[in-house]
């Protein structure tokens, strides 16, 4: 279903300075323009494309939602398509013609569907405690199973995570990297955004690398 209220884009031309859009993309922009007599039909067509993308994503993630019925999957896809359509109509002016218009539009539907599936999968579940993350570290660092230098490195990592990071950095790092909490789910619980939490994670990682270097650990070629 197409939402009744839609934001109206102010322009229909691709911004100057970017590549020129292909004919198909330019046609989409012209048809979606507020003054276009074809706008209503174009919006319906766009919604159908977004719904197909959302169904594709929900279907790919079906295993994450074993408790849902078929109708629930379809509801998630419909909600995702509706929200993606709203976002796209708000942001039409951001389309720079650097890809096909449909590729640009699909990413909104896939994002909405992926986030909704993750959030539904974690609905009612508690975020794992920090201690569970430490258990992951302890498992991989078990001296009996690993090289001594691994045990030393992981011991130092644990110390630096505990004392070298802020509480927020530690919470995000442990939840996302050790306990595998999806960053979108964590963002929802913390009233934040994926981008803001990733910045926190990035800063935590940078601090850890610096601390390990200072302690004389040589990180692999891929780390520095």
């Amino acid at each position: 279903m197409v939402p009744a209220t839609m934001a109206m884009p102010m322009t229909t031309k691709i911004r100057s300075g970017g590549p020129s859009a292909d004919d198909s993309s330019q046609l989409w922009l012209e048809r979606l323009a507020p003054s276009s007599p074809e706008r209503e039909a174009a919006v319906v067509e766009l919604h159908a494309l977004l719904l197909s993308a959302a169904r594709f994503e929900v279907n790919r993630r079906r295993d994450e939602l074993p408790h849902l019925r078929g109708d629930d999957h379809e509801d998630l896809a419909q909600q995702s398509a509706d929200d993606a359509l709203m976002a796209i109509l708000r942001k039409l002016d951001d389309f720079r013609g650097e890809s096909r218009f449909t590729t640009w539009a699909y990413k909104f539907a896939l994002l909405e569907a992926a986030v909704k599936v993750r959030q539904r999968a974690w609905q009612g579940r508690e975020i794992p405690l920090e201690e569970e993350g430490w258990a992951v570290l302890a498992d991989v660092a078990a001296p009996a199973q690993r090289q001594a230098e691994d045990a030393e490195l992981f011991g130092a990592l644990r110390e630096e995570i505990a004392r070298g990071l802020t509480a927020r950095q530690r919470d995000v790092l442990v939840a996302v990297t050790l306990n595998e909490v999806p960053i979108d789910v964590l963002a929802e619980r913390l009233g934040s955004t994926r981008g803001a939490l990733y910045k926190t994670l990035h800063d935590a990682r940078r601090n850890l690398r610096a601390a390990l270097r200072e302690r004389g650990f040589q990180l692999g070629a891929g780390e520095e």
């Binding site: 004919d23 594709f56 890809s99 990413k107 992951v136 991989v140 790092l173 981008g195």
Partner: protein, 84 residues
């Protein structure tokens, strides 16, 4: 904890904890460039040279990496053409 889905390799855990080295895009920049990057990837048109910092970000951010894989899979399911 013996969750079979959890990483058990020290290298894997280390990579998750320390993330990519060097410059990387933010999540917002990644989303803004994702459609272009995926089309370049499918066309094998040097996506990493044309969108610096994207590869590192996808290595460090599981959610954005999933978005990349989903968009690529969707386009490939349509035949993978990026012609205009």
């Amino acid at each position: 904890m013996n969750d079979p889905d959890r990483p058990t390799s020290p290298a894997e855990v280390l990579a998750r904890l320390l993330g990519p080295s060097g410059a990387e895009l933010s999540c917002e920049e990644c989303f803004a460039q994702l459609d272009r990057y995926v089309e370049l990837s499918i066309a094998q048109a040097n996506p990493d040279q044309q969108v610096p910092g994207m590869r590192a970000h996808l290595e460090g951010c599981p959610a954005c990496e999933e978005d990349f894989r989903s968009l690529r899979a969707l386009l490939e399911s349509h035949g993978g053409s990026t012609s205009r």
